[in-house]
């Protein structure tokens, strides 16, 4: 078997490239041919010579295999060494090259650093909020059961009515493996140190068990804790234990006063433990108390909905399966307990994975931010790429010389790869520093509880993502510039085409394509940011419905131990109002169960006389003391406010907001009409409407207004007072200085009872700011990314146009020589930039519309293709493009035609 013949010129080519197999064949064939030639010269026929040579050589195939084996082993060893050596040389060379153009290098590194840094920091937040498993055992199996009442509208409450837990608990063993219920509320800590209010949670004994988390010190709850004879017990959060009890090592077993009752601390939760998860699931609790369930709880059905039912899915059960089963249970509730439910009453239920419920409000904005930083990184990459191409063009000579000296294309690509590697590595290192700082800043300012205890760790996932970004960036953006010149570098550079009138066509179009892409991305980002800013301005323009200036609010909690009955609560709160009214400069004082935009929303089903449909609408409700509307700076639209005379023995009255009046009574007057809480058939008294007030944004400035009713505290039944007014919020309207009034208020309240914890003593305007915090945060961040993208895009456009001007110096010189004015030249160059920007903008607009669906979830009162935002973004971008081409254009216009033509 003789190796196949190659055309001779192929072999010459292989003086360079390296192909082990071919080389081996060549080597053996040379020997063979030489032997045959020798025998033929000695007089043998060709056949005989071949046979003799073969005999002399032995087994060709075996020899070939042996050699190949030896070679391949060796190549492996050698390649590693070689590559390392080449890489070191390449990197050294790259650093030398990069140091020659410090400005360009700095620009490229900065581009990368900004892109990578922004991405990593946002990604680490996304990772913490959306991707990282919740700090519980098998968190994906945790679900919440929520009910809805079809007759009160389509919304699921996300909670159940307390007594119904026992029916869902029967699903243990089939659908659920464990369950717990909990209710959230503030508790007051008194005794050691400053009295204070903290977030609390009351749960059934199994809560820690369901979550699969056990206290770090001490224990969780046990079944015996629930017995009536055992003392009250509590588990503290790690943060509270460190802060209030100064990490007291002997805290377990101590008795502390919670809500005025001595309670034994049985455990301290681990530092990473955070429950509830925030948002409408409740603020992370500092104190975990035990809910002792009695037979009386069983009667709490279908009236108040504020109990969370948390369950762990049994093995092999998916949330979809659980949904159907739970709904069956809900539908059967009324039939199973006819004594508790009104006739033809129906309950439906649903199952929500815990994480989905926790992140439902932040998911949209986070994904938009993630998309935005992705675009920033892409723009940064394109920029660097276009910088590199520009440099390759400048280095045509060098490349050509090296090619002529025998450098292979692969070798050149490797060289560029090394250069980008150095750039990206530097950018990546700097970017990572940005990222750590950025993520810290984000976590510190993000108005979301999920991030409260989140310290941006450069954890494996985040680092891996950054690494992947860096690797891809390097690859993509180093090979491109190396490939662009190879079509022309050798021929053109050797011909020295610096005199040719136009730069290489393909190179120019490649860079133009890049810049167009960059502009398109920047516009997309600008459009999205524009929409966010527009809707933010809209939100800012929304009137909260009350006068937030010159007013102070504070929440005061009354412990059940010292103020056991509703009578005690009402009496004492009236005293506080009286005392606050004596502060100099105060114009009006009142109290409510919660000021607008607070964290407890109370909703009532309100029917009105002559209601046509079977559905009873759900309305917001507030329990208020007299002069509440004065204190809030709300004027009456119709009728009268709630007054001191609206006492227990008087006619039951109610004041409603404009939305309720409109929805229930259309254009007719609401005054004198009657409402009934709980539906037409409910055993509650009729309430007569005596006044109408303007709409207040109860749930937050950017949330829709519900119909709302205001009930006089003095006429509200005792169980509601117990449940809602124990932690009333006071509103004080004053002509005096707000800061001074705050101090006076603290003094006045503590003069009545020094043990009372005050929560959130703040100007009323604060609550508006807080309500907008998340939107403000997201808008600022997006705006920052958009500005970053615009700046990067401007740099890209500037670089491209400036380079094009240099390339076209000669052409421009000729134009000037044959009579073009500098103004013509200026227009010519700027038009070039504007043309690119226009093409990019058109593409970008199409791209921006692709985000419409995601955007809808975060926009307020504005369409996703709001013309003003889109036009504004486009105008800004075009302006930036024109400006970026203006500078090089001016230089072009100043070209001296003679020098240009000679150059």
């Amino acid at each position: 078997m003789t190796p196949a013949h190659d055309p001779t010129w192929h072999r010459y080519l292989r003086f360079w490239g390296h192909d082990a197999e071919r080389d081996l064949d060549d080597e053996l064939r040379f020997h063979f041919d030489a032997r045959v030639d020798e025998y033929v010269a000695a007089g043998l026929t060709h056949e005989a010579a071949l046979a003799e040579a073969t005999r002399r050589f032995g087994n060709l195939a075996r020899v070939r295999d042996q050699c190949a084996h030896i070679d391949s082993q060796w190549t492996r060893e050698r390649t590693m060494l070689d590559m390392l050596q080449t890489l070191t040389t390449d990197v050294r060379y790259a650093v030398r090259q990069l140091r020659r153009t410090p400005a360009l290098t700095a620009a490229a590194v900065l581009c990368f650093a900004l892109g990578i840094g922004a991405n990593t920091s946002i990604f680490s937040v996304v990772d913490a909020v959306l991707l990282r498993p919740l700090p519980f055992h098998e968190p994906n199996r945790l679900v919440l059961v929520g009910e809805k009442l079809p007759r009160f509208g389509p919304d699921n409450f996300g909670v159940i009515s307390r007594g119904e837990y026992s029916d869902y608990a029967k699903l243990v063993g089939r659908t659920f493996s464990r369950w717990a219920i909990y209710e959230i509320g503030a508790v007051s800590l008194t005794g050691d140190g400053e009295p204070e209010h903290v977030n609390g949670i009351r749960s059934s004994a199994a809560l820690f068990d369901v979550l699969g988390v056990w206290p770090r010190r001490g224990r969780g709850f046990t079944g015996s804790d629930t017995l009536g004879s055992s003392p009250d017990v509590a588990v503290l959060s790690d943060a509270l234990w460190r802060r209030r009890y100064r990490s007291d090592p002997s805290i377990v077993g101590k008795s502390i006063d919670i809500d005025g009752k001595p309670t034994t601390v049985v455990g301290v939760a681990p530092p990473s433990f955070q429950f509830p998860l925030g948002g409408d699931l409740g603020q992370p609790a500092d104190v975990f108390l035990l809910m002792r369930l009695t037979s009386a709880d069983d009667k709490q059905r279908a009236n108040s909905f504020n109990t969370f039912f948390l369950a762990r899915l049994a093995d092999g059960v998916r949330s979809g399966d659980a949904r159907a089963v739970v709904n069956e249970v809900a539908k059967g509730l009324a039939a199973a307990h006819p004594e508790y439910y009104p006739k033809d009453w129906s309950v439906l239920a649903d199952v929500f994975p815990l994480r989905d419920r926790a992140v439902k409000d932040v998911r949209g904005p986070l994904f938009i931010l993630l998309g935005a930083v992705g675009a920033v990184l892409l723009i940064a990459c394109i920029n660097v790429c276009s910088l590199l191409i520009a440099r390759v063009a400048d280095r045509r000579r060098e490349i050509a010389v090296r090619q002529a000296l025998g450098a292979s294309r692969g070798r050149l690509v490797q060289q560029f790869l090394a250069e980008s590697l150095v750039l990206v590595a530097m950018g990546g290192a700097l970017g990572l520093a940005f990222a750590v700082w950025g993520a810290r800043a984000l976590a510190a300012h993000a108005p979301h509880e999920l991030l409260e205890h989140y310290l941006p760790a450069a954890d494996a996932g985040v680092l891996a993502v950054t690494g992947a970004i860096v690797a891809l960036t390097t690859l993509a953006f180093s090979i491109v510039p190396a490939l662009v010149p190879e079509r022309e570098a050798l021929s053109a550079a050797l011909r020295d085409d610096s005199r040719s009138a136009t730069g290489g066509r393909s190179r120019r179009s490649a860079r133009q394509t890049l810049v167009v892409a960059e502009i398109a991305l920047a516009l997309m980002l600008a459009a999205v940011a524009g929409l966010m800013v527009r809707s933010f301005l809209r939100v800012r323009g929304v009137q909260p419905g009350f006068d937030a200036d010159h007013a102070v609010t504070v929440r005061v909690g009354l412990s059940p131990a010292h103020y056991p009955s509703a009578g005690h609560i009402i009496q004492f709160e009236q005293r506080i109002i009286e005392r606050l009214g004596e502060i100099p400069g105060v114009r009006a004082v009142s109290a409510t169960n919660d000021v607008p935009m607070g964290d407890t929303r109370v909703q009532f089903a309100l029917a009105h006389e002559g209601q046509p449909s079977a559905t009873t609408p759900i309305c917001a409700g507030e329990i208020v003391y007299p002069r509440y509307f004065d204190a809030m700076g709300m004027r009456m639209l119709d009728g009268r406010p709630i007054m001191t005379g609206d006492a227990a023995s008087a006619l039951k009255v109610v004041v409603v907001n404009a939305t309720l009046a409109r929805q229930f009574f259309g254009n007719g007057s609401a005054i004198g009409r009657r409402l009934k809480s709980g539906g037409l058939s409910a055993p509650t008294p009729w309430l007569t409407i005596v006044g109408v007030v303007p709409d207040v944004r109860e749930a937050g400035i950017d949330k829709p207004v519900l119909p709302e009713a205001f009930f006089p505290a003095l006429q509200t039944d005792t169980s509601l007072i117990q449940a809602l007014m124990r932690t009333a919020s006071y509103v004080v309207r004053t002509d005096a200085d707000v800061g001074q009034t705050m101090n006076e208020m603290r003094r006045a309240i503590h003069a009545l009872d020094p043990e009372l914890p005050l929560v959130g003593l703040q100007p009323l305007s604060n609550i508006v700011t807080i309500s907008l915090a998340e939107r403000t945060f997201n808008t600022l961040l997006l705006g920052a990314f958009a500005v970053l993208a615009l700046v990067l895009a401007a740099v890209g456009i500037y670089g491209l146009i400036a380079y094009a001007v240099v390339q076209r110096t000669r052409e421009i010189g000729i134009r000037l020589a044959i009579g073009a004015t500098p103004a013509n030249v200026l227009g010519l160059v700027v038009a070039d930039g504007a043309r690119l920007a226009a093409i990019g903008a058109a593409i970008g607009l199409v791209g921006a519309f692709a985000f419409t669906r995601v955007m809808r979830s975060v926009l307020f009162d504005i369409a996703p293709f709001d013309p003003i935002a889109i036009a504004g973004a486009s105008a800004v971008l075009l302006g930036v493009a024109v400006l970026a081409s203006w500078l090089p254009a001016r230089r072009a216009a100043r070209i001296d035609p003679l020098t240009a033509i000679r150059s």
């Binding site: 072999r11 003086f15 040379f30 020997h31 060709l60 042996q66 030896i70 070679d71």
Partner: protein, 117 residues
């Protein structure tokens, strides 16, 4: 195979190659020809086995290869001795000489072993 062909040990062939290359660089065919010439074709080596040896020596860094053009303008692989190869050749040659000497002593000795007396 000739009747009087001598089967070469692996190490011996290496030694011969190194020795051959000590005169200057050569391609495989030239090495084979030279060994053939110097030994009057007494060592009828299978020429093919020369090549694994060459590649092994190259791997060990005792010789170095480069492509060049032969006398008849063909692309051929030339081998030359490296400094390490030269060193190796000296060491091996002297131990070879010692071995040959020892064998020769045995073959030419007139002393009879004690059990043969």
């Amino acid at each position: 195979m000739n009747r009087d062909a001598i089967v070469l040990l692996q190490g011996t062939l290496d030694l011969l190659i190194l020795k051959t290359l000590s005169w200057g660089s050569a391609h495989g065919y030239a090495i084979a020809r030279w060994i053939q010439h110097v030994t009057d074709d007494a060592l009828q080596i299978e020429e093919g086995s020369l090549y694994p040896s060459l590649h092994r020596l190259e791997k060990r860094g005792l010789i170095r290869a480069s492509w060049g053009l032969s006398e008849n303008k063909r692309r051929a692989k030339y081998y030359e001795l490296t400094a390490r190869g030269r060193h190796e050749l000296r060491a091996e040659a002297s131990s070879w000489a010692a071995f040959i000497g020892a064998v020769a002593k045995v073959l030419t000795s007139s002393d009879q072993p004690s059990w043969a007396k």
